[in-house]
Every structure is written in C-alpha cells, then in structure tokens.
Symmetry: C2
Subunit: 203 residues, 2 copies
DNA sequence: TCTTTTGAACTGACTGGTCAGTGCAAAAAC
DNA sequence: GTTTTTGCACTGACCAGTCAGTTCAAAAGA
C-alpha cells in the first residue's frame, strides 16, 4: 500500500480537483469531472479517498501546509542572515506573493471557503488557518519585543490585514496584470506599507 | 406590478438567500431552503425571479450597488468638507469596514465568488467589481494629481491591496474579535497604512 | 527460464436519492 | 377584478457512492 503508483494517482486527483473546485466551487464540481480530468475512473477516486469531502479536506491540508512552510522558511532565512524582524515580514509578503503565483487555483479555493460556516471541513480549516497566521503573528510579536515596532499595534488584526493585502493584490495581479513581475508587485506593496500612500502625520 | 408588497417579498428572499449562500455556497443551497427561510412558498420564488441563478445575480447587483454608493458617498463627504484626497481614502476604509459589519453575509458570499471563473454570473460580477474599484482608483488618481501622493504608485494594484486589507481585516474582526469597536479596527488599519509597521527607510 | 498465483490498483455500469423547475387551481391581498 | 401568493404533486436530469469484475507487475514455485 501507498506505492509510488498510488501516490502519483493521488497527486493527479489533487491537481484535477484543485482547478475544477477553484473554477466552480466544491458543490458544483462532480466526482465524475474530477476523475475525468485526472484521467482515471470514478472508482479510483473512491479507492484513494473515502469521500468527496475527504478528498477536499486532504487537499486543503496539503495546500495550507505548503503555504505555512513557505512563510516560515522565508522568515527564518532573513533572520538567519541577520536581518531585522521587519525585514522578515517583508520577506513573508514576498513569499506569499510567490506562493499565490505558483498555486493560484488553490488560493482561490481557499479564500472561497475560509469564512464559510456550517461546512463539514470548517474545523479543519480553522486549525490550518491558525497555523499559517501564527507564523506571521509570531514575527510581529518578535518585532515588537525587539523594539522595532510600537507596542500599540494590534498583532492579530495587523496579521490579518497583511494577509488580506497580499492575497487580494496577488489575485488582482494574476487576473488583470499578469505580465507584471513579482518584484514590481512586491515593490508596490512595500510602498503602501511604508506609508507613502496614507501619509504620516495624524492622530 | 412591482408593488410595495412584491418588493417586500423580494427583500425577504434576498435576506434568506444571502445568509444561506454565505454559509453553504450557491450550489449547496436549495430553492426550497430559501423559500422556507423567507417564509414563502416555493412558487413565490419563481413568481418573483426567473431562476435560482437570476435571484443570485440580482442579489449581487443589489449588494455591490450598496457598497459602491457607500464608498462614493464617504469620499464625497470628506472632499465636500474640504478634506484632502488622502483623507477621502481613509474615510473609504472606514466606510468599507462599516459596510462589511452591516452586511457580513453578503461580503462572505461576494469574496467566495469574486475570483471564480466559468460561472454563469461571472460577467455581471466583473462589471460590478469594476464599478466599485473605480471609486477608489479615481480618488487615488486625484490624490496623485493633487501632489498628495507620489506619481510612482501603482493605482490599480494599490486599490486592490487596500480593498484586500479592509476585507480580510474586517472578516477577521467579525469572526474572532467581534467585541471590538469599528474605531479600534479603523485605527489599527490606519496605523498599518501610515507605515508604522513596515518602517520607512529602504530602497 | 518459464509458469502460476497473488493482491493492490483500477474500472465503469448501476442505484437510490436529491433538486431545479413546472403546472395549476384556489385563496388572499390590494 | 387584477395582482400576488399559496400548496403541492410531479418530472427529468443529475450525482455521490457502491460493487462485481478486470488488469498487471512482481513474487513464488517448478
């Protein structure tokens, strides 16, 4: 069991499911479609996953796992080279952009499900969200502790806002200005974060 | 036709549909459920709307219309009182938060659908999105023209990033820290935009 | 080396249930 | 008397999940 062949099949099913569900949503995507796109019989889906729900949950776990790892690594890299915690946050913004550029379908699907309630995979999703957000929040807290950021900032809310900024900017970028480079987009976001859009004075 | 009574029925159907679809998604929500929640017979749904799809499209038009009007008004208010264009943007951030706090279900549903492709209402959604984003973009352009903002900023991307920041921060606020006031949340976002999180120096 | 057996992996027709949408006569509201 | 709503039976398409049967590579046996 769990042969290389089986792993390959599961991978193909993930790939097929992620694009179809991103395009149409979970309920509107049929198991037959997923099987067909993966080039596999319907029975194979059920040989590899207990249900359509479980296929989707495993897909979520897999994808968010990649994102979390990517953020953590980006932050660790910077601090290992002696960068500040604020630099680490900047690196995470970039890592977020890179992740979304690499897995746009997964991102779409994740966003579409994240704030839903009453769905079978809600609990799973909450746990995963917490893991990913924790990486950013910890870095913000480190930055506050190191005196790089004011103690008045609200860590959870700021982390959410950063996440949303990167998310929507990236999806917009890929949808409407796909010719632009990641450097370009990253620079635009850094500019926004440096207060060159909102101005500095004010109560 | 279009009597006050009928309008009231349509409103009840919108209300029922928006919460159910936000919770479960469009495909997973049945017409029977919508009718039941609205306290109306199934036949009434089809007397008032041509199809489930059309009910949803009209719901989208209605909701995004409210958002666009709210943003436009917030901006106009500020400039009418002699505020700067940057102040107008700040007011729009607040208006966005207020809208999401008032219509959280609609917001969820909108986010879930916004980046989907291959759905029947995709075209409608693009048009609506453009109308809403245009309000923010125009204000950014005005600010640049007035010399309040650097010409190097990327207007569409910045507008998208602002939108994402408000969106995700607001949903996070309502989901996980609902006891906080809108002033509080608004202040946190302003702080982020004023560069007190990212720092100011850098190439 | 050649043959047989084994079992994991896969297949696809089939089933039971669900749901969008219809039709319509009668009642209620205006 | 016109518009709107009700109640409810009905249809046809669609779809998640099942299961008896097939494939085939590799291990066991000769």
């Amino acid at each position: 069991m769990n042969s290389a062949r089986r792993q390959a099949t599961r991978q193909r099913l993930f790939q097929a499911a992620v694009t179809l569900i991103a395009e149409q949503g979970f309920s509107a995507t049929t198991v037959d479609e997923i099987a067909e796109r993966a080039g596999v019989a319907k029975g194979t889906v059920y040989y590899n996953f207990a249900s359509k729900n479980e296929l989707f949950e495993e897909l979520l776990r897999h994808g968010v796992g990649l994102l979390t790892a990517s953020l953590r690594e980006a932050g660790a890299d910077v601090t290992a080279r002696g960068g500040s915690h604020v630099d680490a946050i900047d690196a995470m913004v970039r890592a977020g952009l890179a992740f979304i550029a690499e897995y746009p379908s997964f991102t779409q699907l994740y966003v579409a499900e994240l704030w839903r309630t009453n769905r079978a995979w809600q609990d799973t999703l909450m746990v995963l969200r917490k893991e990913a957000v924790a990486v950013v929040e910890q870095t913000l807290r480190d930055a506050v502790a190191a005196g790089e950021l004011s103690e008045e900032i609200d860590v959870p809310l700021t982390a959410a806002a950063l996440f949303g900024m990167v998310l929507v900017a990236a999806l917009d970028w890929l949808s409407f200005q796909p010719e632009r480079s990641i450097d370009d987009v990253h620079a635009a976001l850094s500019r926004l974060l440096q207060g060159r859009v909102a101005g500095h004075a004010r109560a």
